[in-house]
Symmetry: C2
Subunit: 209 residues, 2 copies
């Protein structure tokens, strides 16, 4: 006997399925739904949840989340279609788009290679990237994957595949493959930098005079 | 242009209506709905939200939240129906029930008196409590309202009303009115106690030998 009506108990259990929501937070949210929120807002939340789960799929071209067959970014004619930025998940695309520093196209991997989790090279959706490179006019592929063990393994694997394409490519025009720079972020105290980042920053040092 | 499909943007906005959920948390929750959560769990959350908002009403007797006309606690014949504990909101009832230290009935106020917020004695649902005291066989009313300015004002107001009932009551049996004790909680370092609590703890001191 907890004093809660059944429907409130169910709602609390449902809220607890969301990440970072424990018992106390779920109770607080349930009370907000009962007492503080407008009925319209609750209805909207309820509908939006269902719509997102039912309507969101992956773009046939770049694998980013979309409501249509092809996402807005792939459909955008004003963007540079000769550059593909390879990222590890849709969140990365959102982050790039928010910061508005890139105007090319994307390719979203399904996973990063991780033998411990039994995720091999065949599970990362790489064929679609290779097909795009073979069939579209691509000048450059930018690898923008986080520099963890899984990320680096995946980057190296993709790099090797793309080198093979370049070797078997008989034309003069070779595909450029680049990697985003890893190093010290701006505005950060040097004492808080981890050793791997510092090592990468030293390796990738630039001659300035 | 944020890179989000419209339905995801809508869901993020809806999540932000919940208390304590800002932009970043809402985005994280939306991504969890898209990628991590089972479809069934999302459907349940969606349905539970609607059910709670549509079905939860207030008990006709005690004003606690319930799905029926009368709540489970008021319907429970095994409870002591001669004692009413007056609390400020349904959350307090839940808290009492969880700690399982009280076996009487409850009465939930609509508000605490707060002149600054234009909440007067007529807005706290006090008539229903008075009617219960006049019509049921009540031995004791326990005031369990938090000791803030609004809480104390409300407690004093209710105390005065109940004294008037006792004065006009011609029978020998008088209504007992009590207040939960305020003081130092167990297991707390004295240095962290605020002055108001310490003052109440001194005022309510008990002779022990």
């Amino acid at each position: 006997m907890t004093g809660y009506p059944d429907s409130v108990l169910n709602l609390i259990e449902s809220f607890k399925k969301l990440p970072g929501i424990g018992e106390k937070s779920a109770e607080r949210l349930a009370f907000a739904v009962i007492t503080d929120m407008e009925k319209d807002d609750v209805e909207s939340l309820s509908e939006d949840l269902k719509k997102v789960k039912n309507n969101i799929k992956h773009c046939k071209i770049c694998n980013h989340i979309t409501e249509n067959e092809i996402c807005n970014i792939c459909n955008d004619k004003s963007r540079d279609s000769k550059t593909i930025c390879v990222v590890e998940d849709p969140k990365s695309v959102i982050m790039f788009e928010k910061l508005a520093v890139y105007n090319g196209k994307y390719f979203v991997l399904d996973n990063l290679i991780s033998p411990l989790d039994k995720i091999g090279p065949e599970d990362i959706n790489i064929e679609n990237l290779i097909n795009r490179i073979k069939n579209e006019e691509i000048d450059e592929v930018i690898l923008a994957i986080k520099p963890t063990i899984e990320g680096e393994t995946t980057s190296l694997y993709i790099l090797k595949l793309l080198e093979e394409i370049n070797i078997s490519n008989k034309s003069d025009k070779k595909l450029i493959v680049s990697r985003i720079a890893h190093g010290i972020p701006l505005g950060v105290d040097m004492e808080y930098i981890d050793s791997l980042t510092l090592e990468l920053a030293l390796q990738d040092r630039k001659k300035v005079s």
